[in-house]
């Protein structure tokens, strides 16, 4: 078999810093780490300024290193833009392929310890707002980047203030000298160039938190969406992707085609990855020895030698089961079993029979992954080959 594309993103479970995806909403600020401090204020008992040197002093703050995946909720947005652009042809929504995800060993301090150092939370402190030093420009207005996460997430030690990425100081483009890393959440909450932490009672009303990164079901359209009637994207759902072969690859094979990819769940870990060579009818399990080590907060990269006895057009797909049995199937229709053959090309909403069948129909795909704000957080991936 031969493939024109090799993707180094999934060759190792830890993404090299130079390959880690980059998403900024503003320019990269120049910050002098020697003079750097950040503020902790709002609903804490003792608001403080904390220098980077203090944060790095292990006699004050215990240091942790964790393997954590960050994912942009727009990963694979390009597939959706091809189906329908939403606002995507005029707004700058990064037209990502499968690569807006990466994994690093982050070193820093749990935010819980920092809050404790500031005397703990005051009553009503339910959310923590982060401010980045990058300016953010959208729809004609300028802001500083600001987002928030619930204090509940902080209390379980799943929010870290990090200054090291894979044993190196944070690269400037990844938030030097200090950034937030929120485990299992959309990357947008992992504020870079952090300079202010504000404990508040409700989620931030900053535009990135209130008006953006909202997920709408395919039943929502351009003119019935508001900010409040969508999901605020926080925990990342189960997702997976085939990195090689790429879509429309031409492959010469002798009965097997090697697939590589990643699998991720923000609320757990990928326990089982399955791939299909017939568009979602029959699924093969990726053997555990072909999956990378499991972590509570990181992806697993995988590879599989797919048995293929056909030539011509093929449609491969992948799905992942996490430890809580969450799985994103490529669409299920409840249909009378005997009707399948002749109803394949028709909408399958009859629901008259008792059989449930994995229904790989292409014609349902457009609806499945469509989301007006172009966040493709929850979807199975298909790639087609000749």
């Amino acid at each position: 078999m031969a493939s024109f594309n090799t993707n180094r993103r999934v060759q190792t479970e830890i993404t090299p810093n130079a390959d880690h995806f980059v998403r900024n909403h503003g320019g990269i600020p120049e910050i002098d780490a020697e003079k750097f401090y950040f503020d902790v204020e709002g609903l804490v008992n003792t608001p403080k300024k904390i220098t980077l040197k203090e944060l790095q002093d292990e006699s004050i703050f215990p240091r942790i290193t964790k393997t954590v995946t960050l994912q942009c909720s727009g990963t694979r947005r390009i597939e959706q833009i091809r189906e329908y652009p939403g606002d995507g042809d005029e707004l700058i929504n990064a037209p990502w392929g499968e690569g807006a995800i990466g994994t690093a060993r982050w070193t820093g301090v749990s935010l819980k310890k920092v809050i404790k150092y500031c005397g703990g939370l005051k009553d009503g402190g339910k959310h923590v707002e982060f401010f980045g030093a990058d300016s953010y420009f959208k729809k004609g207005q300028v802001y500083n980047y600001a987002v928030s996460v619930p204090t509940r997430k902080v209390k379980v030690n799943e929010v870290m203030l990090a200054w090291e990425m894979n044993g190196e100081p944070l690269p400037k483009i990844h938030g030097y000298p200090l950034r937030v890393v929120v485990f299992g959440y959309i990357g947008a909450r992992s504020c870079k160039w952090l300079y202010r932490i504000n404990v508040i009672g409700e989620p931030s009303l900053a535009p990135v938190q209130m008006k953006e990164y909202i997920y709408y079901s395919p039943q929502m359209g351009k003119h019935n969406v508001t900010y409040s009637n969508g999901f605020s994207i926080q925990t990342m759902p189960v997702s997976s992707a085939i990195m090689t072969p790429i879509n429309h690859d031409q492959i010469i094979h002798d009965g097997k085609i090697k697939l590589t990819g990643w699998a991720y769940s923000g609320s757990g870990w990928p326990e089982r990855v399955e791939v299909s060579g017939d568009g979602g009818g029959i699924w093969y399990e990726v053997p555990f020895e072909k999956m990378s080590k499991k972590y509570y907060h990181a992806w697993r990269v995988w590879e599989y030698e797919m048995p293929v006895d056909a030539e011509g057009w093929l449609e491969f797909c992948v799905r992942t089961w996490d430890d809580a049995l969450n799985v994103r199937t490529p669409g299920i229709a409840v249909i009378p079993y005997a009707d399948i053959a002749y109803r394949r090309s028709q909408p399958m909403y009859a629901a008259r029979g008792k059989y449930t069948r994995q229904y790989p129909a292409k014609e349902r795909r457009a609806n499945r992954d469509r989301n007006w704000d172009l966040h493709v957080t929850s979807s199975c991936q298909y790639v087609a080959h000749q």
Binding site: K211, H223, T226, Y227, N229
Partner: protein, 47 residues
């Protein structure tokens, strides 16, 4: 909601087409948003 949105477009003398043009005004005021959040018991559970 759609009827309300179409009325807003009409009042501002704007066209809903092309549909790929970002809506040139906020989809909800801060007051409307906070009211909705209150009715929906916030983004997160109390306990």
């Amino acid at each position: 909601m759609t009827a309300k949105r179409l009325k807003q477009f009409e009042e501002k003398g704007l066209s809903i087409w092309p549909i790929t043009r970002p809506t040139p005004f906020d989809l909800e005021t801060e007051e409307e948003y906070l009211e909705q959040m209150k009715l929906r018991e916030g983004r997160d559970p109390e306990e």
